[in-house]
């Protein structure tokens, strides 16, 4: 089985007056069709930058400085601007944070959906479809996210937050992309609606067999939804493991602290925050970026950045504690 998404050594920097901030510092990732990956990390760890880089939507002063994003055999980074426009939504779709606020308030939901199709189907070519056919497709997409087809004729303000969010999901699956990136799709929704939205994403991704990348910091949601979890820190993957390994047997000290900080039903009122603060990207500590906050830091962590190692359990780690043993 060939993977639908391969990210190789992806690098993004932001050039600010104070210097160069490496927001994404060489990330590798492989996803098969139908796989769901959770991307977690603190703010500023590079989660959203990674999503934007995969969509090639990094704006100046940011720049993609290297690496490949291969979706379904095509390297997105070497496409022309025109080709990339076509690739977005048809190969790789993005549900931004607060997507529900991205709907145009003065255009009907249906027209916005049709626009998405029109932009990808050239009238002169053979894959052109009639407006009636388009409308049918849009209504099918709405139904697949549990919305009444009458939403097609509605405006954004007539929908609740959860419905708007699901309308955005409907748009993102219109052209059956291979990869869907959802950046905190439920952060502004309450629990019942959140569950409904996540169940919707789960169902439609199964229907179209797309790989999903779920970005967020809600570990609870990750535990319920994804197959694999990647923990990001200062623009790199600290640990990438199956969701079960991540929650029951995290290896990297940062992942361990993250799992320990989670609230659970048994220990009421116990908070285990992670001491220290996320590093400023402009002055990253030498060696392993996590060493100033790491309880198990060693001499070598100050000077040498750990290389990724793969454990026999399938976990991929960047930590000297394990590179020694490997």
């Amino acid at each position: 089985m060939t993977p639908v998404l391969q990210v190789r050594n992806l690098q993004v920097s932001y050039y600010t007056d104070a210097g160069r901030a490496r927001a994404l510092d060489g990330v590798d990732l492989t996803l098969e069709a139908g796989e769901k990956l959770g991307l977690v990390g603190e703010s500023g760890s590079g989660k959203s930058t990674m999503a934007l880089a995969m969509m090639r939507m990094i704006k100046p002063p940011g720049r993609i400085e290297g690496g490949q994003v291969i979706v379904d055999g095509t390297d997105l980074n070497i496409l022309s601007e025109q080709e990339m426009l076509k690739a977005r939504l048809s190969k790789i779709a993005y549900i931004p944070q607060g997507a529900m606020n991205s709907l145009n308030p003065v255009i009907r939901i249906g027209s916005q959906m049709m626009d998405a199709i029109k932009a990808h189907k050239d009238q002169s070519t053979t894959d052109w479809i009639s407006p009636a056919e388009m409308e049918k497709r849009c209504k099918l997409a709405l139904e697949s996210v549990d919305l009444n087809p009458s939403v097609f004729k509605m405006y954004a303000h007539e929908l609740s937050g959860g419905m708007k969010q699901r309308a955005c999901i409907a748009i993102s699956i219109l052209l059956r992309p291979k990869v869907i990136i959802a950046d905190e799709p439920t952060s502004a929704l309450d629990v019942v609606t959140q569950r409904q939205v996540m169940e919707t994403i789960d169902r439609v991704q199964e229907q179209i067999g797309a790989a999903v990348i779920l970005i967020g910091h809600d570990m609870g949601l990750m535990a319920q939804f994804v197959d694999k979890v990647a923990v990001m820190y200062a623009g790199r993957f600290m640990e990438l493991s199956s969701v079960r390994n991540m929650f029951t047997d995290p290896k990297h000290p940062y992942a361990q602290a993250l799992i320990k900080s989670l609230p659970n039903l048994e220990k009421r009122g116990v908070f285990n925050g992670i001491p220290g603060m996320a590093p400023a990207l402009l002055q990253l500590p030498g060696g392993c970026a996590f060493h100033p906050r790491c309880s198990q830091a060693m001499e070598i962590c100050h000077t040498k950045r750990p290389e990724p190692v793969t454990l026999s359990s399938g976990q991929i780690l960047e930590c000297h504690l394990y590179s020694e043993r490997a």
């Binding site: 603190e42 703010s43 502004a188 629990v191 570990m219 319920q224 079960r244 602290a257 009122g269």
Partner: protein, 336 residues
Amino acid sequence: MSDLLELKNVTKVYTRGLLSSASTTALSDISLKLESGQPTIMTVAGESGSGKTTLAMLLLGFIQPTTGQILYKGKDINTLRGEERMMFRREVQAVFQDPFAVFNPFYTVDHLLTVPIQRFKLAKSKAEVNAIMVDALTAVGLRPGDVLGRFPHQLSGGQRQRINVARALVLRPKLLVADEPVSMVDASLRANILETLRALQRDYGVSIIYITHDLTTAFHIANSIVVLYRGMVMEAGDVDAVIKTPKHPYTRLLVDSIPWPDINRRWGETEIKAKESELSDHAVGCKFSSRCPFVMDKCKQIPPLFQLAKNQAASCYLFDQHPSIAPEKLSELLPV
């Protein structure tokens, strides 16, 4: 013991303009009490449209109740004037949900923190002002050097929210109304902010009304919980009892939808019965009846609160074998 805060049968109805007869009851007949000698953390939980933000606005005196009264230290907050009003403004502080909307983009963080210090004359010199700011920022886990002198657009959402908590902290309030304070903050920092809030309650005697839809954090921080649905109390009581053994069908649905960070505990099997789009705003009787899997004929009447245990009550006819209690008595069974 005098009451720090008392809500007496508060109802808030929003009308839609002069000509329209349509109106929305955001809160209906809510009575609550917080005693001044016993700082506590009370959670008000519910989904969007439950009236929890309306409650926050009422408590802060931003809007007035349609009927009923809100008393702060025995005085109606909407009749406070002069000195008393200033005191109320200082002692009752707020932290809001959206850290992107509450900042004036033209002012730096320093300005935001200095204004309240000067306004309430909390410092005698510039150095003192600075010391208070640095203390407050450090307390919420920010590096003062990172944020002082910056404009809001240069800060992340998490940083902004912590500055909001710091701003409230600066004034040493008696009551903090926190409306979804951590819903837009990183999970790892959430623990720190919640810990800060709890320290505030424990060490400085600040009572906190924690308004949220996130029952996980409520469970860990609060002593008592009141679950609202469309402006009415569905269930209330000891937070441990309500979340571990929810009784009201709505609370059960809520608890069942919590994504616990535990892979052995899957999202519940409770079906989400009605889709949002099919809900009517004007259910007669119990507001939850249109989504309730156990709906009965008598649910067309508004159910009273039934006391299920010493510290738990639910407003649902499923429990009508238990004694009912008057809404005014609800606070008495909330632990502090």
